[in-house]
């Protein structure tokens, strides 16, 4: 079972991100479950959503307490809540940031993770240029596919198209693709550096 | 008013006289073919205005729709006295659910009929003033706001008579009830703003609103017939004296209803889409004292030196109604 926790703020499509991830996993032929932690949060409030991906049916309803991956849609949350709860050195971490993660203020907290499993994508900037709105979730899902390999980009794209018809869907697919290539390239180049 | 008003001054009542009219102008009640929707044998008190009004209203509705009426009844006297099973006095399809939900239940019946394409069947909901202006007010407002195809009829006897005459939102100022006793310097019910439900119904802009009394059968039947000509939410508010709660003689029910109208305390009107389109002018206006005196619930206003100050305040209420609706036409008009 691969467990994902998405942290973000109301209005950033946090719940949608977890839902789309579950749909993508389903498209890939796996069992998946997604659910939000809170239901009445207003715009801007911290929101957490969960996704579990498994080869067997997912039965547990517990919130994800030991994530295999954390997606952080908004770095300001680092000051607000413990987004690292239950993580280990092998947890994948995907950040929404225009800067490389190593250059981030407070990057030392990330040193506890396997650097091969940490990535940052400028998801908001990609969303603004591709979709025209600062909703980073599609780009982050593309980055997630590249970073973890837990879902395929093709499945992410199909899930996005099923949710958002027409040009909106295509623009989000483009955002996911751009982030995917960015993370994929970074991983390979960092592998070169090693 | 498209019917010929019968003027039988010689008998001192407007409620009689069908035999003196042309057959086509006679009331539904005078016809042998009337449905007797609320048939005899029920357990209402002698002189019950509500029983009288309910039969008049529903027989008229049945006549207007070819007998295709479904009735939803709020809890209250009318429900209790009509259905102590195994007896039922209802000769039409009738449903009682709760005290405060008759409008919503009626909306449900109307929705079901619409879904089933039964446009021929019409829904009438009914309740007393407690079920209408107080506990059922929210559901009634919802019915109006959605403009559901229901005629809602309030039989207003101005207190909770079923439970032993407690004050309702429709109880008039100074009236004595079990919860507004005739004690202290301000005996009886308070002089509040009142809850003028016909006006509130009009404010919803529903197709048709009317007031009527059991004292004028022609007028009452006409208004039911008129209401059934509309689709959407309609509201009919009928004043029904209650000998038990009003502490009046059982033979006085119709006369008291007429005096309520003639004093200006209960104006008769019709409104369409929120605008008053007709009022019944007072050709024979009486002072409120003539209406109040026969009622035991106002006896404290006339005992000993009496309370002319309070009577005067009630007269002001009547005068305000008369001015507001133009019930008395000035000479020369």
């Amino acid at each position: 079972m691969f467990q994902v926790r998405v942290h973000g703020r109301g209005g950033q499509g946090v719940v949608t991100a977890a839902e789309l991830l579950s749909v993508a996993a389903f498209i890939d032929g796996r069992s998946a479950q997604a659910f939000p932690s809170f239901g009445s949060e207003r715009m801007g409030a911290p929101v957490v959503a969960y996704c579990r991906i498994s080869d067997a049916p997912v039965r547990t309803r517990e919130p994800v307490v030991a994530p295999d991956a954390v997606i952080l849609q908004d770095l300001t949350l680092l000051r607000v809540e413990d987004v690292w709860q239950g993580t280990t050195a092998s947890t994948f971490v995907l950040l929404n940031s225009p800067k490389p993660w190593a250059e981030l203020a407070g990057a030392e907290v990330l040193s506890r993770f396997d650097p091969e499993r940490v990535a940052a994508v400028p998801a908001t900037e990609i969303a603004l240029s591709q979709v025209g709105r600062p909703i980073p979730n599609a780009a982050l899902l593309g980055g997630f596919a590249a970073l973890t390999g837990a879902v395929s980009l093709a499945a992410i794209n199909q899930a996005i198209r099923e949710r958002f018809a027409g040009p909106v869907g295509e623009r989000n697919v483009a955002a996911a693709g751009e982030a995917y290539r960015m993370v994929d390239l970074a991983r390979h180049s960092s592998a070169w550096e090693v | 008013m498209p019917y010929q008003r019968a003027k039988f001054y010689q008998v001192g009542s407007f409620a009689v006289g069908n035999r003196l009219l042309a057959p086509s102008e006679r009331t539904v009640q005078s016809s042998l073919a009337r449905t007797n929707s609320l048939t005899s044998g029920h357990r209402a008190c002698q002189g019950c205005g509500e029983a009288l009004a309910a039969r008049y209203v529903l027989d008229a509705a049945m006549a207007a729709t070819g007998g295709k009426v479904v009735v939803v009844n709020a809890t209250g006297c009318l429900e209790v006295f009509s259905t102590p099973f195994p007896e039922t006095s209802w000769r039409l399809a009738w449903l009682h659910s709760l005290f405060g939900n008759a409008p919503a239940v009626a909306s449900g019946v109307a929705a079901a009929l619409k879904a089933k394409g039964r446009a021929d069947v019409r829904v009438v909901a009914q309740g007393g003033d407690g079920g209408t202006v107080d506990i059922g007010f929210g559901t009634l407002s919802g019915l109006f706001e959605r403009n559901d195809d229901v005629l809602y009829v309030c039989y207003d006897n101005q207190a909770y008579m079923n439970t032993g005459v407690q004050r309702s939102g429709s109880t008039p100022p100074a009236a004595r009830t079990a919860t507004t006793e005739a004690l202290g310097p301000e005996p009886g019910n308070v002089f509040g703003q009142g809850k003028d439900l016909p006006a509130i119904a009009m404010a919803h802009g529903i197709p048709y609103v009317a007031t009527a009394s059991v004292a004028d059968l022609h007028d009452l039947e006409y208004k039911v017939e008129r209401a059934m000509a509309f689709r959407g939410a309609r509201y009919l508010h009928v004043l029904v004296p209650c000998p038990l709660g009003w502490k009046s003689a059982t033979a006085e029910t119709v006369r008291l209803a007429r005096l309520a109208v003639e004093s200006g305390l209960f104006p008769l009107l019709e409104a369409e889409a929120g605008e008053v389109v007709a009022v019944t002018p007072l050709r024979h206006r009486v002072g409120v004292e003539e209406y109040l005196r026969p009622q035991g619930r106002f006896a404290h206003l006339f005992r000993g030196a009496g309370r002319p100050d309070i009577v005067a305040r009630i007269q002001q209420v009547a005068d305000r109604n008369i001015a507001r609706y133009g019930l008395v036409q000035e000479a020369g008009e």
Binding site: V15, A18, E19, S22, V23, F26, I27, S31, A32, Q33, A34, F35, P36, G39, S40, P57, V58, R59, T60, R61, E62, P63, V65 | G67, K68, V70, E79, V80, T83, F85, W90, R91, L92, A93, W94, L95, H96, S97, L98, G100, N101, A104, V105, A106, S107, G108, V109, A111, A112, K114, A115, K116, V121, G138, T139, S141, G142, E145, R146, D148
Partner: protein, 417 residues
Amino acid sequence: MRQIEGSQAVAEAVAACRPEVVCAYPITPQTHIVEAIGAMVRTGRLANCEFINVESEFAAMSVAIGASAAGARAYTATASQGLLFMAEAVYNAAGLGLPVVMTLANRAIGAPINIWNDHSDAMAVRDAGWVQLFAEDNQAAADLHVQAFRLAEDLSVPVMVCMDGFVLTHAFEAVEVPTQEQVDSFLPPYEPRQVLDPDDPVSIGAMVGPEAFEEVRYLQHAKLVRALEKIPQVAEEFYHSFGRYAGGLVSPYRTDDAHTVVVAMGSVVGTLKDIADQLRQKGQKVGVLGITTFRPFPAAAVREALWGARVVVVVEKAFSTGFGGVLSTDVATAMGPLRAPIATVVAGLGGRPVNAASLAALIEGSERGSLEKVTFLDLNRPVVDRELERMGARRRSGPSAENMLRDVASQAAAQEG
């Protein structure tokens, strides 16, 4: 199979049942269901259906009562405060014998106001005369609705399908959504036992005095007792029509040789199955008994499933204030005098996550007799004690909920600092 939100799956299942009147009043977390049905009515996908936006839950159930009495298949959904606001009409629908179907998206009852999941709402109306079915997952939630209409109309009783708010209503998972063809073959058109018909007028809802009231009430009881036979039959027929099993009275999991059986309702059953598997790997014989039908209570089936148990742990998302478990009381009654010891674990109140590790530890210890009669899972007892102290110290100690919330927040801040 579709990866779909629970509420959407239920909306599709309900729509496939061809309801004729659906009334909606917004209350979290059932809103997505009626919103989706409303949209289907708008587009014409759900034909011959009146969708009514009412002004309260009291009106929602009342509209359903009127519609059902007029011969229409009626549906609504609610939760929590909404259920209590309509409680009078909930009892009324049962008393009138009207086969209304309602989704209850289980949610805590205030005060303190809380929008999250527990079972307090369902427990508050357990004696109203409704059949109450609990869904373990969203497949069950969808399927139970189809069975609910069938049961309700066969027996002329209202049926409430309980699904955990947020945990199921807002969860995306794979669901085989019942198709129109399947439902049409399983659910015949509604044939009312009593109907408001101007051509054959009857009085419905008459006053009944002491001379017959007991008999009328007993009939209600007898109908629910009959439901205990009918529910498994309907589940069996459902299996033949849909090719999957759903519904029924109880859902035992690895109970045959179990020494410890954990009894629960709703979505926590899934978590408990995982816990049972984990504990079995460690050598403890644990089984789970999911209660699908809570009312009527399937005493015989429960007794049978718990026959060999040495310890019974009932995990409940509600409790009877001042006493303890609600479901536990029913389980104890069902087990009779020869019963194994029963421990109640109250968990998941007001959306408190049911922590699998804590729960597993409790269950693990249960065979050693370490469980109290009633345990509140993960209760922060010091917070309660400090409020009791404040209340003892001064008369005007202020609003307790707010005091305790402030306490929890300051504890959290102290930990971070």
